[in-house]
Point group: C2
């Protein structure tokens, strides 16, 4: 049985964490604050630097039980022995990722509409649904779907859902109320002076 | 024994060939004109589109004996069953690519200076050396090293070398004279109205 917890899903952003070392620092603080899953998302970085970050993060997370996922790149996932990969609609198909990574890998897929639910296959373990609110950290994100849009996708989905896009302590609970299993947070943790406190505050806001 | 011929190495450019279908058309014409190796380089495209192009190109090249290499992405190379990968100094390390792709894959490494020769390992099969002349098709290419720079790297290199960067029919022979085994061409073929004729003309200019 695959063991992962979408409750407080940290997405590390290369602009807010400009070095692999920054990413490690934010991650360790966030894990102390209750973060349950970490994704490395650094499309701006060349792959050597992304791999360096993945290796450091994987090492830093040893013993925490918190899995590390890699955005987009199945090869980096494989080399860094990360726990899985998150792919978007225009990235490598989940089935191809599964063939390479094997049955134990965690594979997530971004879904931004009911139509995109058609791209879900048996290879997918969870859905990242959004952007729920408007966001500046992902340039190619679509229009915000709101908690109504989130709810309509959750009701049709047969997999666990993590809500993403502009989520912070003030709106996290509305995503859980709409049916999401967890919240994915980027700038509200990566951009915070105190990632541990920010994580704890968002977790409490979401789950009480 | 690995079998590849660097003589006339076509690098498909996503800006000059805006669709996977354009890439297939240019490739088939170039192969008729004497092209011996093809690389897919489309960093501007999301990986789903790059994979689509790789699969179409691999299929189009069946029976031609011309190998297909993928720029940067080991995962796409694996999924598309391409013949190998070309990596730069800031991409995934050649040794990691070799571990994933196995002994039969062709692995190329970009080298732009004598210092960068230090990054060559047993995992590498050939070197892409340049930019020899100034180029507009690769945004992150360094300053042109000229045929003198090319020659100095060729003399120290223990692997076959393909020259790259601003190469066309007027300067191809100077690269071969400087010791390169072949020339890699981007815009002089991809940007030509007649890629077959352009390939034949460059091949003749380079090798007589």
């Amino acid at each position: 049985m695959k063991n992962f917890d979408l409750s407080l899903y940290l997405v590390l952003d290369a602009n807010l964490c400009p070095s692999p070392q920054d990413m490690v620092r934010v991650t360790l603080e966030a894990v102390k604050g209750g973060c349950t899953l970490v994704q490395l998302r650094a499309p701006e970085w060349k792959k050597k630097k992304q791999l360096e970050a993945a290796l450091l993060l994987k090492q830093a997370l040893v013993g925490t039980g918190v899995p590390l996922l890699i955005d987009d790149h199945v090869d980096i996932t494989l080399i860094a022995k990360a726990d899985g990969v998150h792919v978007g609609q225009e990235d490598l198909p989940p089935n191809e990722a599964r063939d390479i990574l094997g049955p134990d890998a965690i594979i997530g897929l971004s879904v931004g509409s009911l139509l995109e639910l058609n791209s879900v296959t048996d290879a997918v373990d969870y859905l990242g649904v959004g952007p729920v609110f408007s966001t500046k950290t992902k340039k190619d994100a679509g229009l915000a779907i709101g908690t109504d849009g989130l709810g309509s996708i959750v009701r049709k989905a047969t997999l666990p859902v993590v809500a993403i896009g502009g989520i912070n302590a003030t709106n996290a609970s509305s995503c859980i109320s709409a049916g999401a299993n967890g919240v994915a947070v980027v700038s509200a943790i990566c951009g915070s002076d105190d990632p541990q406190k920010a994580s704890r505050t968002i977790y409490k806001a979401a789950f009480g």
